[in-house]
């Protein structure tokens, strides 16, 4: 369903993604991990069609992203790092805008919004201006936007960053349920989140993929601890 073939990206003369290849199928919940600046966010922005790779191919549902970008983008739900939103809108207007952009209108739009609002529990702030919301609620609104059109691929950049423990647990629970029949790519530097819900891990370092394994395989040679495996690969640790 999702295929990256030898993707290379340089930004302002610096190579950010170096010959990255992987594929994913429905049911894969992939933890994309790496140290800060490893290229996780660039990788996500490229899969979503925000950036175009200098070389390589990205195929979504068999279609080349470069040839049919809008088709590919219809299959993707995206939650960006920091959850950027238009502060002058309220949650309802934001979801209607995104829904219309994904060609949802009338009753279909209404049903999609009701479902997304129920999942993310934003009923109480539905008519509130986004600028006035707390960080946690802003993230929920952005997440509601990401799942609104029932995407086949859900991509989340640091989704639990800044959430309190209860919110984090709720978010991970939602993702675990949603991941059964779609691809979820989950970028984070919180390894605990990966262990809780992901069934596969991809480690990126200096733009290169240095590991692509199931969680169990990843832990196997390092006393069962994700941190040890991660530090062993990236050469980090204390």
């Amino acid at each position: 369903m999702l295929e990256l073939i030898s993707v290379n990206i340089s930004l302002l003369g610096r190579k950010i993604i170096d010959d990255l290849s992987f594929n994913a199928k429905d049911g894969d919940i992939i933890g994309l991990v790496g140290v800060n600046g490893a290229g996780k966010t660039t990788c996500i922005r490229t899969i979503c069609g925000i950036l175009e790779p200098q070389s390589g191919e990205i195929k979504i549902a068999g279609q080349n992203l470069k040839d049919n970008r809008t088709f590919a983008q219809k299959q993707i739900g995206l939650l960006l790092e920091g959850a950027p939103l238009w502060g002058d809108m309220n949650a309802k207007e934001y979801l209607e805008f995104l829904g219309n952009m994904h060609a949802l209108f009338g009753n279909d739009l209404k049903k999609a919004i009701i479902k997304a609002v129920e999942i993310t529990k934003i009923q109480n702030i539905f008519h509130q201006k986004i600028d006035t919301l707390s960080k946690g609620f802003k993230r929920r609104v952005a997440f509601a936007g990401a799942i609104l059109h029932d995407p086949k691929i859900l991509i989340l950049d640091e989704p639990t960053d800044g959430l309190d423990p209860e919110q984090r647990a709720q978010a991970l629970d939602i993702l675990a349920k949603m991941g059964k029949d779609r691809i979820i790519i989950f970028s984070t530097h919180i390894l605990g989140d990966i262990g809780d819900i992901c069934n596969r891990i991809i480690v990126i370092n200096n733009g290169k993929k240095i590991a692509d394994e199931t969680i169990d395989e990843f832990k196997k040679n390092t006393s069962g601890k994700l941190e040890n495996a991660f530090f062993k690969l990236t050469g980090g640790g204390v």
């Binding site: 809008t70 995206l78 002058d88 805008f97 995104l98 952009m101 209108f105």
Partner: protein
């Protein structure tokens, strides 16, 4: 079915009125346009049923006002990160550009429409040539449209709205100034027929002819070509953004 272009246009247009910015902008434009027409253009002293005094200063008034509208078109999204939300949506790049462009152009149109009471008042003074007046308003919209595509393109490359405004002002002024006799003479002094060349791209002469009713196809085509070229530059800048170059 409504298109993505329409959805974006509606959202962008509404954003001007989610806070007082849109209303303040239109009010200030109308106030200064009428004030300058009366005080400097001596609209009343001439005692003529003509809007020439109003249109005469519009290239300069619009030069100050339109970049203020255009400076935020992309730079606000660049600053808040919502540019990534927009670029991740299933909308074609040309729809993205046209949606934003038409929303802002609509504000310019409303600002010009808000000046219509002046047009009506002139009709009370005597027999006004309403065809020329209509042509004058269309000319203003065209010149506003050119300033808009310039400031839109510049706002694409910066997060800072002030910088976007100042650079747009500079480019807009260059378009105007290239038709001024002093600039033409100066450029002629350099040689290579530069004065003549720059006079060809100037908006000023064509605008001045149009507000006195001398419409020419060549002027209209020139305006449309410049607007089209400006939109094309926006499209190329957006491509560069997707390539990560800006």
């Amino acid at each position: 079915m409504k298109s993505q272009l329409y959805t974006l246009l509606k959202r962008e247009f509404k954003s001007y009125f989610q806070n007082p910015i849109g209303a303040i902008y239109i009010s200030l434009y109308v106030f200064f346009s009428v004030l300058i027409a009366i005080q400097i253009g001596q609209l009343i002293e001439f005692n003529e049923a003509s809007l020439y005094s109003f249109f005469e200063f519009q290239p300069y008034i619009l030069l100050l006002f339109v970049p203020a509208l255009g400076m935020r078109i992309w730079s606000e999204d660049n600053k808040s990160g919502t540019i990534d939300v927009l670029l991740s949506l299933p909308i074609k790049d040309y729809q993205l550009i046209l949606g934003k462009y038409f929303a802002s152009l609509l504000i310019c149109l409303i600002a010009l429409i808000a000046c219509i009471p002046l047009w009506i008042s002139i009709n009370f003074l005597g027999k006004a040539d309403n065809f020329i007046a209509l042509g004058g308003f269309i000319s203003c919209l065209m010149i506003a449209s050119i300033y808009l595509v310039i400031s839109m393109a510049i706002s694409m490359v910066t997060k800072n709205q002030i910088i976007a405004y100042l650079i747009s002002l500079l480019f807009g002024f260059l378009f105007l100034a290239s038709g001024m006799p002093i600039v033409i003479n100066m450029l002629d002094g350099i040689g290579f027929n530069l004065g003549n060349l720059f006079a060809q791209i100037s908006l000023l002469d064509d605008f001045e002819n149009m507000i006195i009713g001398q419409f020419s196809y060549s002027a209209i085509i020139k305006f449309i070509l410049i607007i089209g070229f400006g939109l094309y530059i926006n499209f190329e800048f957006l491509k560069l953004k997707r390539w990560g170059h800006i």
